[in-house]
Subunit: 705 residues, 2 copies
């Protein structure tokens, strides 16, 4: 048994109660207050069921009670299936009696507008006062196969119950959560529990994930959400799951503009920036699924509990075409398929002259005439090839009664010899034959492309479980942040204190100072308006590039002062900033902003079209160390430009990574008054020559304390 | 009945023979020579089956014959299941008797090396001499449900026969073709025929597609290939299918480097450039599937025969979450989901206050209490929304016995009112209920993401069927191509005759001529070595940019001559080319090369990192008109740079398109001696100011006639 946190123990009253009252209990098993009772009776809920109904002496054969106060014992949990006003009253009564958890099916709360939100707030107050946990309101409920607790009114149960098993489903959405549940059941997947959190007045998807991370009956967590309500609890839950080696596969919809618009019209959840969600889930080793089937495929394969870090794929196939298809899928997923060792290839060629033994290892349909070749080739793949995962493609032949028994024999021997490898079969067979293969220790997929995606996910879990916690980024001396957005020079001075270097520059109040500065810095120089009130200087012609001599600097100074006076007559004008014009570097953009869900997030990209046209950026939650910063830098599509493409010298990536990591630490330490930092451009000079910000904007939120 | 071509009629003897001999007939129904007979007996093949076996009087209850010569009648087709030598002899005998088609199961021919290839060549000669068609050798055969012809030994039939229906499968690969067939059968899809072409000595996948394009029993064609053996026949087949409004969905594996390597080790097929394949399939309206399931999903939906040109998607959902998920999938596919008209939204809001009526139209689980809302909302979606396709998401509720009958009633009324719309249900239900929905005129998908991909494909078919044949590009005057690769100046002169403009320039033999030319053209100028023997000038420092005055030109000329003499002392040196230095334009790359499968192919991309780092290019088979060229130009990811991103003026895309189209016509007219043209860079000047090649290389294959 894994250690239970206090919060987890309190949630157990909700997820696995010892007794349950049903407020609004109905004799009719097709009604909202009747379905849970019927289901629990059919599935043998382990504790007493206490129907509350003022108009009946019995409900579905059970003695019924007129009110919560009339209950002969205090139920550990209650299901509330009455209209809003009555629900609130019942909740009050239950809380006073000491019921520890309530599931509110009742709709008509925050999802309907301001007065509903007020009513929801009252429910939460009642629960908090009495230390009670609340699921919903507006929830389709939950089910737990371990004790037959069916606190749900989903019509899905009309078509059957799930078999017990290790997969837990946590979904904010009721309808979609039950869609997931229903598909999983129809695919014969074993479930521990399935929970839909509805309006999340109290219990969130994050809370459920945390509970499942500690539940000994749950080994794999499948989650769904449209928006994260409490990022800290959510991330703590993901961290707990990772530490307990429980893979989390998650669907977070709203990837596209269109999808986010749909999400906003549908729910009050804050959808947030999808790219940030992507980065955060990756950080915690959560695999993000794009489709329902992909999510279920990954959850199903994960129940094998083989998570190969440093995953590689070896393929054995009776069809060359399938081998090519699988290679394409592995390439698209980023799952390596290194070739077999030369000696092993030569040996296989000797055994079967027309095989293609490289990887995919195409043993041709010939093996169907001599099934011992499956053992011989499989042994070569796993032993000599040493692949962490194997995909064995036998298509319909694997399901042919004339072949299956002898094939099983070969495969079982392989399975026994290599118990630590992930082994997946792609066969087409009748369900009983598929179950046999599964009992033999193989996951079975009809479509090999889906198998590849799921195998790749197992490796990602393995990498996440194997990774040591990253070295924390060293903290920086606390900076004195100004009360309001500072000038460029002041911004650079502040960043300089944190070790973020700008191009050498001088603030100059007069033209003669500017000339002297340019002479000292060396020509050519850049000159910019210096004013705390003018943030976007280039828009008013406030930046002059490539000033090559003293005359140009002198005339440029006058021109800048004139442009500033014309465009922003009210601005405080402090003169001009004269900086050395950098050349020979790669232009980058470094920045940070506050994500409304996850807080400060750092951004890295290449300058110009890469960010503006191609949106080729890497994001990461702050803070992070230099190694993580370097991984971000290397992850963008345009990274070859920094690594020496097109005959350039490689850029000083270490200096860039140091700058990015420091920026992330600054952002983390600064607190919410720091809205954004924008270093654009930063020149990444050739290796060993550093990286310098040529412009810096720090935005301070003036109304925050 | 569609018109039959002559070639099609000949193939009918192969695909739907009136009688069949089986050479190497076996009593054992699990052996290669026994399976086809057992299957045909079980499925009631419409004609006589004539077993040939020298050792038996009867085979599987049928009278057997000792040899082909002993057959009492000439079979229209024959199945050959004997070793290579015997196969050749039997083929000769059959050909002499006048048998019109043979299926060769026998392996050991071209797939095994040179001597096998010779033997295969002999088979082909025999067939050609007698006007016989040949499937294989090394083929798993074919089946036709229309007349119960099972000329295949696949073990897949042990698990059942397909139901007859409108989908034809044409696959080069035997094992993978039968994988497709088996999955289709397991999914309950109706098939007309399923053919695997094996070594393709004679009959290719293209031939089968052409036959199916004319077969009245086949309405949808699913094809698979690793490489195209005869591009002309293949493209003619695709064209015929499109003209007959038969959608073709195709899988062509080897998308990735890894996949192409696997394909090369597996098959003798020429995999070709995958990006060219993509472009060619798109040109013919073929939808390329990435996975087996996607291919079958598309084929299945296509049997509804609703192909909405200008496709749009309207979504009705009981789950907001599913609505978001579907929006994401539609966005990723490029399937538009425009919003509902404002008035319709307002009306739906009046009917159901908490609905989200924009599109997706989220009618909430409330409709399950009042199913008449399905009709009301569906009517709004199809009538007022006017979407060409509708996806209706009812998940498990659609399959709940308490809901299904009333839901069906509402949906049938909708179906009847809008017979021309593509309507897809996403429900989870038991197979009999799914069949009912399908009989009502709905395609049913469990996973809504898969539904979206298939719906999008129907629109692409519709667009292809609706498109008028493109206006042919006007031909250009025939050029006098030189005998060998010409100099840059000569290349530009040739291209200039075809209306492809270069930057104004002059060939100069001396430094003084260069100075005079620069003065005439206007400074700054570009100067390059002029020599027919130096193709890649920039690699030896043979290009000088930005020469601003006479001194720079004079010194530059000397420098170029010296560099040429050092780097290529044997080269014929004709002086230097002086050209006006263009500025203010967008750098592009235009070119053509010969694809080994599909012939001359034009390429367009933006200069620099776009092509070299991001591989952001558009390809198209030559020739094509200006409108098609413009579509290519607009299709690249970096296109915003040409359309005025980052404050640039929009580029002269029409001039660029004219140049690209002319290049394609030139390439088409030139014949195989023209290996490649490379215009890099081409400057696309601001709108109205034209496009000019600043460099031009024409490569001539000297050894071709």
């Amino acid at each position: 048994m894994l250690p239970q946190t206090e919060a987890g123990a309190a949630l157990s009253a909700l997820l696995r109660p010892r007794s349950v009252a049903v407020i609004g209990a109905s004799e009719d098993s097709s009604r909202i207050g009747g379905r849970p009772i019927a289901a629990m009776l059919e599935r043998g809920f382990s504790g007493p069921i206490l129907p509350v109904n003022p108009n009946r002496a019995t409900v579905q054969g059970l003695p019924a009670f007129a009110s919560v106060r009339d209950l002969p014992e205090t139920p550990e949990a209650a299901i509330i299936a009455v209209p809003p006003k009555a629900a609130e009253a019942a909740l009050q009564d239950l809380a006073e009696r000491g019921t520890k958890a309530a599931i509110l099916f009742t709709a008509g709360f925050a999802e309907t507008g301001a007065s509903g939100a007020d009513a929801q707030e009252r429910l939460l107050r009642i629960a908090r006062q009495h230390g009670m946990r609340l699921l919903g309101p507006n929830s389709l409920g939950l089910l737990n196969t371990a004790n037959g607790f069916y606190g749900t009114f989903t019509s899905s149960l009309e078509r059957g119950y799930p078999i017990p098993g290790p997969i837990g489903i946590a979904s904010q959405s009721g309808a979609y959560g039950m869609h997931l549940f229903s598909m999983a059941r129809d695919m014969g997947m074993g479930l521990s529990c399935s929970v839909t959190t509805g309006n999340e007045a109290d219990v969130t998807v994050g809370d459920i994930v945390a509970w499942m991370a500690q539940d000994p009956g749950t080994e794999v967590i499948a989650a769904y959400s449209e928006g994260i309500r409490d990022a800290n609890r959510f991330l703590a839950a993901l961290d707990l799951a990772r530490r307990n080696r429980k893979p989390v596969v998650m669907m977070k919809v709203g990837r596209s503009e269109l999808g986010r618009a749909a999400a906003q019209s549908h729910t009050a959840s804050l959808a947030g920036d999808d790219a940030v969600t992507d980065a955060v889930l990756a950080e915690f080793g959560v695999v993000r699924a794009r489709t329902t089937e992909e999510l279920l495929d990954i959850a199903r394969l994960a129940t094998r509990k083989i998570y190969p870090a440093g995953n590689t794929l070896g393929v054995l196939t009776v069809s060359g075409g399938a081998g090519v298809l699988i290679s394409d899928a592995a390439d698209a997923a980023g799952l390596p398929m290194p070739p077999m060792p030369e000696a092993a290839q030569a040996a296989l060629h000797r055994d079967l002259p027309f095989c293609a033994p490289q990887n995919p290892v195409d043993c041709t349909a010939q093996v169907l005439n001599d099934l011992s070749l499956v053992g011989r080739f499989g042994e070569a793949l796993l032993g000599e090839g040493g692949y962490r995962s194997a995909l064995l493609f036998f298509t319909h032949a694997g399901g042919a009664p004339s072949i299956t028994p002898r094939l099983r024999e070969q495969l079982r021997a392989l399975r026994a010899r290599y118990p630590d490898r992930l082994m997946v079969l792609s066969v087409l067979a009748d369900p009983p034959q598929i179950r046999q293969f599964e009992e033999d220790g193989f996951a079975v997929f009809a479509d090999p492309s889906r198998a590849v995606a799921a195998i790749h996910a197992m490796g990602r879990f393995g990498d996440a479980f194997a990774a040591a916690s990253p070295e924390p980024a060293p903290s920086l001396p606390a900076l004195e942040w100004p009360k309001s957005t500072p000038s460029e020079a002041e911004a650079k001075r502040l960043l300089g204190q944190a070790g973020i270097a700008a191009a050498p520059e001088q603030a100059c109040a007069t033209a003669e100072q500017a000339v002297a500065a340019a002479r000292a810095l060396g020509f050519p120089v850049v000159m910019k308006i210096l004013s705390p009130d003018i943030l976007h200087k280039s828009e008013i012609g406030g930046v002059l590039l490539n000033l090559g001599d003293e005359t140009a600097v002198r005339e440029g100074f006058a021109l800048l002062m004139q442009r500033a006076a014309t465009a922003a007559p009210q601005a405080r004008l402090e003169g001009a900033l004269v900086a050395k014009q950098l050349s020979g570097g790669v232009e980058c953009i470094l920045g940070m902003h506050r994500d409304p869900v996850f807080g400060p997030v750092a951004v890295f990209g290449l300058g110009g079209i890469f960010v503006e046209v191609l949106r080729d950026v890497a994001l990461r939650r702050c803070p992070f160390n230099e190694a993580e910063a370097e991984a971000m830098i290397r992850s963008i599509r345009g990274a070859p430009l920094l690594l020496g493409a097109r005959g350039r010298p490689p850029a000083d990536i270490r200096a860039l990574a140091r700058m990015l990591s420091r920026l992330s630490v600054l952002a983390h330490q600064a607190g919410p008054r720091l809205s954004a930092i924008d270093l654009n451009p930063v020149f990444a000079m050739p290796e060993g020559e550093g990286a310098f910000a040529a412009d810096a904007v720090i935005e301070i939120a003036e109304n925050r304390s």
